[in-house]
């Protein structure tokens, strides 16, 4: 991979974004609202009980914080890039992407950078730190490291899933709202997977792997993660990355351009 091209790409995106500085506030407002809704929701739940199937309020705040953090990272580059990609297919401008001297999967994955979404990433991080600092059991350095590793693995899973959804555009063209499927499913990640009834849990886990992305990192912080789950997540992440790569290549071969 050519890092200089990658770097140029990011700089250009960054310059574009810095023109619209007021967007920072609209993004911040947006993410504060989402986080606020989740927290207020939690507080309503905890007027009726002092734990939720063993999850204490602080621990659930950690889940919500992870949810916000990951959402921010997705909004930063992956989601807007795929949105542009889908639009490009519809308009036939994907041709310009394909002739760039880089792997096309990389270009469509990072072509847009919404730097202001960093507000959401930071907000999630702050919430995470507050949640952790209030927990009775301390978090060791090993757990911190494990948290980061498993978060990256989880992002790998989500990324592959989004890539496969977006790749469908090669066949169906009119799929601007295909990413909405993900958006709807992701809502379920606000809560630890354990609270969903069993049949629903399997549907959610295997249809959309949100669970691995949000719940499993949160489980590290709340001392709930077993070795099995860790290896399952790692295996799934690698498998899905390979699968989505293959699917992307198949889709690409199917692309015929708009004017040809």
């Amino acid at each position: 991979m050519n890092f200089r091209v990658l770097y140029t790409f990011l700089v250009v995106s960054l310059r574009n974004e810095l023109t619209y500085r007021a967007n920072f506030f609209s993004h911040l407002f947006d993410s504060l609202f989402t986080l606020g809704t989740s927290l207020a929701w939690l507080s309503v739940i905890f007027t009726q009980t002092d734990n939720l199937l063993g999850w204490k309020p602080r621990e659930l705040v950690a889940v919500v914080a992870t949810y916000t953090f990951i959402r921010g990272i997705l909004n930063l580059t992956i989601k807007p890039s795929f949105q542009k990609f889908i639009e490009d297919i519809r308009q036939g401008t994907l041709d310009f992407t394909l002739i760039k001297p880089m792997d096309s999967q990389w270009v469509v994955s990072i072509q847009q950078l919404r730097i202001w979404s960093l507000s959401e990433v930071l907000l999630g991080l702050v919430a995470l730190i507050i949640a952790i600092s209030g927990m009775s059991e301390a978090i060791s350095w090993v757990q911190m490291l494990l948290f980061v590793v498993i978060m990256i693995l989880g992002l790998g899973i989500i990324y592959s899933f989004l890539l496969m959804l977006a790749t469908c555009a090669f066949w169906f063209v009119q799929v601007e709202n295909v990413l909405e499927i993900f958006e709807n499913m992701y809502q379920a990640g606000r809560w630890p997977l354990g609270i969903y009834p069993k049949y629903l849990r399997y549907t959610l886990t295997f249809l959309v792997p949100i669970a691995f992305a949000v719940t499993v990192p949160a489980e590290v912080l709340t001392h709930r993660l077993g070795y099995q789950e860790f290896f399952l997540t790692a295996g799934l992440s690698v498998a899905m990355l390979i699968l989505s790569r293959w699917f992307w290549k198949v889709g690409l071969r199917h692309y015929s351009g708009a004017s040809s």
Binding site: S26, F29, D30, F33, G36, T37, A40, W41, V44, I45, T47, Q48, T49, N51, L52, L53, G54, F172, Q174, V175, N177, V178, E180, I181, E183, N184, M185, Q187, A188, R190, W191, I195, Y196, P197, Y199, L200
Partner: protein
Amino acid sequence: MFKIFCAHFKTNLAVHLQYRVALGIRMMGTVLLPIIYLATWWAVADTKGGTVRDFTKADFAAYYIAMMVINHVTFTWLAWNYEFRIRHGALSSLLSLPTHPIYRDFAQNISYKVISFFMIAPAVLIVSLMFKPHFQFTIASAVFFGLALLFSYALRFLLELNLAMTAFWFTRIKGIGEVYFFILFFTSGQVAPISFLPDWLREAVRFMPFYLILGFPAEVVLNKLSHAEIVNGMIMQGIWAIACVCGVCVLWRSGIRRYSAVGA
């Protein structure tokens, strides 16, 4: 007037039929969100040994399935529509037509509901089989529910029309919309039945349109209200609906004078 509606209805029906996939995707959210609320309350009930206040797990299931139906029936896109029309100047061409754009909005909403009925009905059936809700229908409760639902449809349509009209002044109303949905989420009985709220808040919420739109019909179908309370609720729905009609008239008249087609 009816002929105009029919014409709009037919064209919109055709449009919605073209975008079946988009429709299905939207329905996914409609079905999934109440299930998430339900799942959290089931978890609370499990933690507390089966019931929360006077709600059993089967009651929660019935409540949130009713919510799913009510929210689906009353849902509108008026705010998005008007924001788009005003921001892109698309309203100009609508204004040159001999009928008010509201006919179009109404026909669009009804035709969407007609088509999506064939998706929501099986979804409700499947969810009911999964969660085994406890419903106790009597003829009276069914009639009351039907009426309450009809009123809440009218009320929500008018209320959100007011919200949509604010686009004349603000052009982008995403922020206002978010605040609206935040209030709706917490005071309509979506996050929890309003009997779970603290006393002072519950009494205030009972008279707000948000509860009357969603929570009220759901409590009617669950037989949680006395006949007097039901009648009172419907009167409140009527009063709010009239207030909203007045609001729309005022906002539309002064808004249309302000409107200059953005970018024209």
